[in-house]
């Protein structure tokens, strides 16, 4: 059972909402209702960029109650692997795309007494749906949102007008930083913190919470990074005996798909664990780029998440 059933959507609206960030509104190709979803969910968007097939995960940022359309925001990453560049340059109003069903790997904790959201840049998107959902439930939450400048930060005005003093925006161009220690120190027991943004920010927030004695269960993070590029290598499939070349800008999963090999996957961001594959042998170092395997598992080198990770050597043999 690999992957996620796809549905065709049409782009109904494209808006430049900040420097290098565009918002896309997607509707079903026949205008049928889309699935409801829960705050924190993402979808994967399938992109046929020339001869390349890519699927990137994007958080759903619209209201979960709105089944007429889904909204995503895409940052044009520099240097891009191709996905965000394709979305920015080739996808227009009326373009057709394929998307997977919503999947939630970043849900708000339903038993939390309060929710503290810490966002950096494009990391704001999952929190927009979560806040919409929690607001309807009259739940207690606050947002701490770090942006480079008001031109770079999307939705600052919208969020402030909708949620008022629950939204705190910090502008790097004014030297403002999220005062995370103060924010976390002042919270009641039973508060949960969620962080989404660039990797250094996530690491900093998790570390700060840990040092302040926050329990691991109350701290949540999500980061969808594209599979990092590297040098080409060869994947040997033990069961079929095939050998497949993974190019420098491809993930193992993408190379398998390009060659018609059906491998399991879901989130394609190294978070869900679905594409975990047994490593039978590897002649060098595995570069684990996922957030799923534990550190001891990564060190052991017996498993690899093929959506994100690659190797720094010539070949790896997988149980596929």
């Amino acid at each position: 059972m690999s992957g996620n059933s796809l549905r065709r959507v049409r782009v109904a609206e494209v808006e430049a909402v900040a420097n290098r960030i565009k918002r896309f509104r997607l509707v079903d190709i026949d205008n049928a209702p889309l699935s409801e979803f829960s705050g924190g969910s993402h979808i994967s968007v399938v992109m046929h960029a020339g001869s390349r097939l890519m699927r990137n995960p994007y958080s759903l940022m619209g209201s979960p109650k709105d089944t007429s359309s889904y909204q995503i925001s895409v940052l044009n990453v520099e240097p891009s692997r191709g996905g965000s560049k394709f979305m920015h340059e080739s996808v227009k109003v009326g373009s057709e795309l394929e998307i997977g069903q919503p999947l939630n790997l970043f849900p708000p904790a339903k038993l939390a007494k309060k929710h503290v959201f810490v966002a950096g840049g494009i990391g704001i998107t999952p929190f927009m749906a979560m806040m919409d959902e929690l607001d309807a439930l009259h739940a207690d939450f606050e947002l701490h949102y770090g942006v480079r400048s008001l031109k770079d930060g999307a939705y600052c005005k919208y969020l402030q007008s909708r949620y008022g003093s629950r939204v705190n925006v910090y502008r790097q161009d004014l030297g403002q930083l999220i005062p995370l220690k103060t924010v976390l120190r002042g919270q009641l027991l039973g508060t949960h913190m969620y962080v989404c943004g660039p990797k250094p920010m996530i690491d900093w927030a998790l570390q700060t919470a840990k040092l302040l004695g926050w329990p691991d269960e109350n701290v949540h993070s999500e980061q969808f990074s594209a599979p990092p590029p590297g040098k080409p290598f060869v994947v040997k499939l033990a069961r079929s005996g095939r050998e497949i070349v993974v190019s420098g800008h491809q993930s193992i999963l993408e190379a398998l798909e390009e060659n018609g090999v059906d491998a399991p996957f879901l989130c394609r961001g190294g978070a869900c664990g679905q594409c975990e594959t047994a490593v039978l042998s590897c002649d060098g170092f595995i570069e684990h780029n996922d957030h799923f395997l534990t550190e001891p598992e990564k060190a052991e080198g017996k498993k690899i998440m093929i959506c994100m990770s690659r190797i720094q050597s010539a070949s790896i043999t997988l149980d596929l």
């Binding site: 059972m1 996620n4 059933s5 699935s35 409801e36 979803f37 829960s38 924190g40 969910s41 979960p64 069903q101 919503p102 999947l103 939630n104 849900p107 904790a109 339903k110 038993l111 439930l137 269960e217 879901l266 869900c272 664990g273 679905q274």
Partner: protein, 346 residues
């Protein structure tokens, strides 16, 4: 084609029985003569027409009488239906999934009209005509899970998903094979499966949990589970053990065909979209041994399977006292001929 609903009882005089047509659609769970422990999860996709797998929620000739028995259980013991406060969104998810499924799959029996949040539900077999506001629990006579749970066959639990675990935080359980919602509510996946023998050692629950945490919207899965019950009793709960436990001592070679029932559970697992919770449906089917042996393949296979059961499972399923008697009864119908693969009748 409408169903004809039987008027029957699951207690006292036990008038429950399957019609000849219903016997052949029984989800006989044994696909080979040897018992094997497996998670046996498969996609809950539409099965053959007329089979219990045709629709997500199977309604059959026992519907009206089963709902009457559920109402009796809930009246005597309201704790069979419980939902923790954070499960209200999931309750609505469940109500929506079941109402839309039943109205689509059994239009002659159920109708749902939706105008925004104003919903109109008609359940003809039970004589219910209800207008209500979706997501406003005050407009229904019960909370949403109990409201719809009283109108659909099978037990249901709802699992919240948090901390990479599933938590049984709601359920309506009135026809269970000796487990208690009141005891299990609030437990996690490993805790409520604690009593199951053999599977923990095999790592079954770690794998199953990991699979379920990634269960997708619109891609439900199912599996079959089974046990045996003396008399066609739905409510074999720990709370009422004093009423049914001693039934196990009443099985004789003369009455085994009538008294001993194979109890099959078709278990469905559905991702609920608004709440990210998982709905677990436990749709039970009961059939007496004397009805089972009317299908020659099942008459041959069931005694073979029962002989091959590991002792731990015999004890866990509560068959210890009457397994031999049941095997002796069934063996009269096993001529030793080979059986075809799969569970269905030939």
């Amino acid at each position: 084609m409408g169903l004809t609903f039987r008027d029957e009882t699951f207690r006292d005089d036990f008038t429950y029985a399957n019609s000849p047509e219903n016997i052949r659609r029984f989800p006989f769970p044994f696909i080979e003569d040897q018992y094997r422990y497996s998670v046996n999860i498969e996609p809950h996709t539409p099965g053959p027409k007329g089979s219990p797998f045709e629709f997500p929620f199977d309604i059959d000739e026992h519907y009206v009488s089963e709902m009457r028995d559920r109402a009796l259980v809930l009246e005597a013991d309201p704790l069979r239906c419980q939902a923790l406060p954070h499960m209200m969104t999931a309750q609505w998810d469940m109500l929506e999934l079941i109402m839309t499924s039943l109205a689509r799959d059994y239009p002659e029996h159920f109708t749902l009209n939706r105008d925004g949040s104003q919903w109109h539900w008609i359940n003809r077999p039970l004589g219910i005509d209800q207008k209500f506001t979706f997501l406003d629990a005050g407009t229904l006579p019960f909370e949403p899970m109990e409201y719809i749970g009283r109108q659909v066959q099978g037990d249901f639990s709802i699992q919240d998903q948090r901390d990479n675990q599933l938590w049984m935080d709601a359920g309506i359980i009135t026809s269970q094979a000796d487990w208690s919602l009141d005891f299990d509510v609030g437990m996690n996946f490993f805790e409520w499966h604690g009593p199951v023998p053999l599977a923990h050692e095999a790592g079954v629950f770690e794998r199953a949990l990991k699979f379920l945490l990634n269960l997708q919207i619109g891609k439900p899965v199912r599996r079959l589970n089974w046990t045996m019950t003396i008399n066609p009793r739905l409510d074999t709960s720990p709370e009422n053990y004093h009423k049914w436990g001693t039934d196990r001592t009443t099985v004789t070679p003369e009455n085994a065909g009538k008294k001993v029932h194979l109890r099959v559970e078709m278990q469905g697992l559905f991702r609920l979209p608004r709440s990210n919770a998982i709905l677990f449906s436990i749709r039970g089917y009961l059939m007496s041994l004397e009805q089972i042996v009317t299908v020659p393949k099942w008459g041959r296979r069931l005694p073979r399977v029962l002989r091959s059961l590991p002792q731990e499972l015999v004890d866990y399923k509560g068959l210890t006292r009457y397994r031999e008697t049941a095997i002796a009864y069934l063996s009269k119908y096993d001529d030793g001929a080979p059986t075809s693969p799969g569970g269905g009748p030939d």
